[in-house]
């Protein structure tokens, strides 16, 4: 708890310090590639029958929105005098972003990753090691993201004096959900401005995928007060609604506590956390950011799900029609935007949170299965 209090205090001070904002904004612009474009996907729009705009987080350095958070937290760790970084990763995108930021700033980095995910994401593991990070396999539990998160927290509490834990999503104990939201809100701030400038109006709907929920909170944050803008979070429907077959925490879970946050949780009748499945490793998490639980309860955001097969279809569609191969996570949002939303009067904005390079092996497996 004292470490969390220190983090909250230091982050609040940093966010008000122009020097911190300048350093972060310079890195985001010159190193990561911000602002990312907001792109009117014309052929996809023709297919859907209404305009669809893509917020191109897939064009960022390391291939996903995760770098926004990693760079911010690394600058924060430096201010706090922490000389060692730990992180968890599922698909490897957050681990890769953290390893990259650590290489940039010359800080040792340990990334915990479930042994099952290490097997599924060999290329990202090789990249992290190339960047100088130590990738620690996690053999406990389901050997995926939730277990990697537990192990990273264990490392952090053991080495808290000199170590900062860079959590990858809007989950975990306070202040992490707030901290990560703040660092990811750049997505929505840019996108809102871009829509006003390029489309001449706000979108009628914003769609984003939700695992832990950081890209979704990041893009939703700027639109929460625009009551005329509908917000839709798309979870992993996986292979079906049976326990262990999906990652649709908000749609099918119930309130509980995991990793220091009270939110929705996939759990059995005894309060044990259930295993999850999604074709996209980044949505394969039994919890979800507590702010999403709040936004669900107030009705401000609608949460729904898209299954594995539909996500693959979303990926195919964007590849064929736009020449953009999205991450399987983002493909859930693409599919929903085109097929499952109500008929539109205005433009739909999709958060294209990452690119699909990491998913080629999964896509090939899927092709063989078809």
């Amino acid at each position: 708890m004292p470490a969390l209090e220190e983090l909250q205090e230091q982050a609040a001070i940093a966010f008000r310090d122009p020097e911190f904002s300048d350093s972060l904004n310079n890195l985001l612009r010159d190193y990561a590639g911000r602002p990312t474009p907001c792109y009117l996907a014309q052929r996809l729009s023709d297919r859907a029958g209404f305009p669809i705009w893509l917020k191109r987080e897939d064009l960022l350095h390391t291939g996903a929105h995760k770098i926004n958070n990693a760079l911010g937290q690394l600058l924060l760790a430096r201010r706090m005098g922490k000389r060692r970084i730990v992180a968890e990763t599922g698909a490897g995108q957050h681990g890769l972003a953290t390893a990259t930021a650590c290489a940039l700033m010359g800080v040792p980095c340990v990334v915990y990753m479930g042994s099952e995910d290490i097997r599924r994401q060999a290329v990202n593991v090789a990249k992290m090691r190339l960047l100088g990070a130590v990738v620690e396999p996690v053999e406990s539990g389901s050997r995926t993201l939730k277990d990697a998160t537990s192990e990273a927290i264990r490392d952090w509490v053991t080495n808290v004096r000199d170590t900062h834990y860079v959590i990858g999503s809007v989950v975990g104990p306070h202040p992490y959900p707030w901290l990560v939201r703040t660092l990811q809100s750049v997505i929505g701030v840019e996108a809102r401005q871009q829509m006003l400038e390029q489309a001449g109006r706000l979108p009628s709907r914003v769609v984003a995928c939700v695992g832990g929920g950081s890209n979704a909170i990041g893009i939703f944050a700027a639109f929460l007060d625009d009551r005329e803008v509908a917000l839709v979070g798309v979870e992993a429907g996986g292979r079906g609604e049976a326990p262990g077959e999906h990652g649709a925490t908000l749609s099918l879970g119930s309130p509980g506590v995991l990793h220091g946050a009270r939110s929705y949780l996939l759990q059995d009748e005894d309060g044990q956390v259930e295993s999850t499945h999604s074709i996209s490793a980044g949505l394969d998490y039994p919890g979800v950011g507590p702010e999403h639980a709040w936004l669900k309860s107030t009705g401000r955001v609608d949460y729904t799900s898209v299954d594995d097969r539909q996500a693959l279809e979303g990926l195919d569609m964007l590849a064929r029609l736009e020449g953009i191969i999205p991450a399987l996570e983002s493909s859930h949002a693409v599919y929903h935007a085109v097929h499952l939303g109500p008929p539109e009067e205005g433009p739909v904005l999709v958060c294209l949170s990452g690119r699909g390079d990491k998913d080629m092996a999964t896509v090939l497996d899927g092709d063989q299965a078809r």
């Binding site: 539990g141 264990r154 220091g260 956390v273």
Partner: protein, 262 residues
């Protein structure tokens, strides 16, 4: 059967200046589902003065590899909160007289309902509870319910806990304060005795609550070294390791407890 008596925990721990009492950790449903009751009774017979009963949880954040593995096996064996409480009741019926503290993570309790849990735990003969993932700031509701059912609420501190927070942990505790002998998780090898000693020395002036040292205690020497500083010492990973490899786990654990000089 012994009814719940929160003061029992304090009275067992307040025997200064005598050596710290030995507290053994038992994982409910480990290594086999039905080992819990014989394990509890054997621990008492081997001389421990209090027992900490761990309820298995799918995501045990504060536990090291040994306790994690034991919990995983206990869950595979079908252990649940309700079944563990039934085993406590059975152990009490079988003559278990020493205080018993349940260590459990928060989510299974929320699922059962905090009030429901406290009522059933008290009825089963539990004396106190320890919830490692419930911070002091969030403890009020459970502490009140525990008090209503005459269950002792125990709290935790670590070497990184500031003095003022140790004092707050003491104010909230109606049982003991669990002092983690090193920052981190249970069973880490090479536990730093100095860090544990330093914590105990720092904690003592902050509170009147009994201090129990845990996490990484492996030898009779270690137990003796904190005599006069700690009121109790918890041995966990060592006993679980013993239980996981022994062909007769209950006897093996009892033998190990005797070696530790209970």
């Amino acid at each position: 059967m012994t009814g719940p008596q929160p003061l029992r925990i304090r009275s067992v721990l307040s025997g200064h200046p005598v050596p710290a009492i030995l507290i053994s950790y038992v994982m409910a449903g480990f290594p086999r589902f039905d080992d819990t009751v014989p394990m509890l009774l054997a621990a008492e017979e081997a001389g421990v003065r209090m027992v900490e009963l761990g309820l298995p949880y799918s995501d045990p954040l504060a536990d090291g590899p040994v306790v994690q593995a034991a919990g995983h096996q206990a869950l595979s064996n079908g252990m649940t909160v309700a079944k563990a409480l039934a085993q406590v009741q059975e152990a009490r019926a079988g003559g278990l007289a020493i205080p018993l503290v349940v260590m459990t993570y928060l989510n299974p309790l929320l699922r059962m309902g905090l009030g429901q849990f406290c009522q059933r735990a008290a009825a089963a003969g539990v004396d106190g509870i320890l919830v490692p993932d419930l911070p002091l700031e969030e403890m009020d509701e459970l502490a009140e319910l525990a008090a209503d059912h005459r269950l002792a609420m125990n709290t935790m501190v670590a070497p990184t806990t500031p003095d003022a927070r140790i004092a707050a942990a003491g104010r909230l505790s109606t049982g003991f304060i669990y002092c983690v002998s090193r920052t981190g998780v249970t069973g880490a090898s090479g536990a730093s005795r100095d860090e544990g000693t330093a914590l105990l020395l720092r904690a003592r002036p902050q509170t009147v609550a009994p201090l129990v040292l845990g996490f990484g205690v492996r030898s009779a020497d270690q137990v003796r070294s904190v005599a006069g500083l700690a009121d109790g010492v918890v041995v966990a990973s060592l006993l679980l390791e013993e239980a996981s490899v022994a062909s007769r786990p209950v006897e093996a654990v009892a033998r190990r407890i005797r070696e530790l000089g209970a």
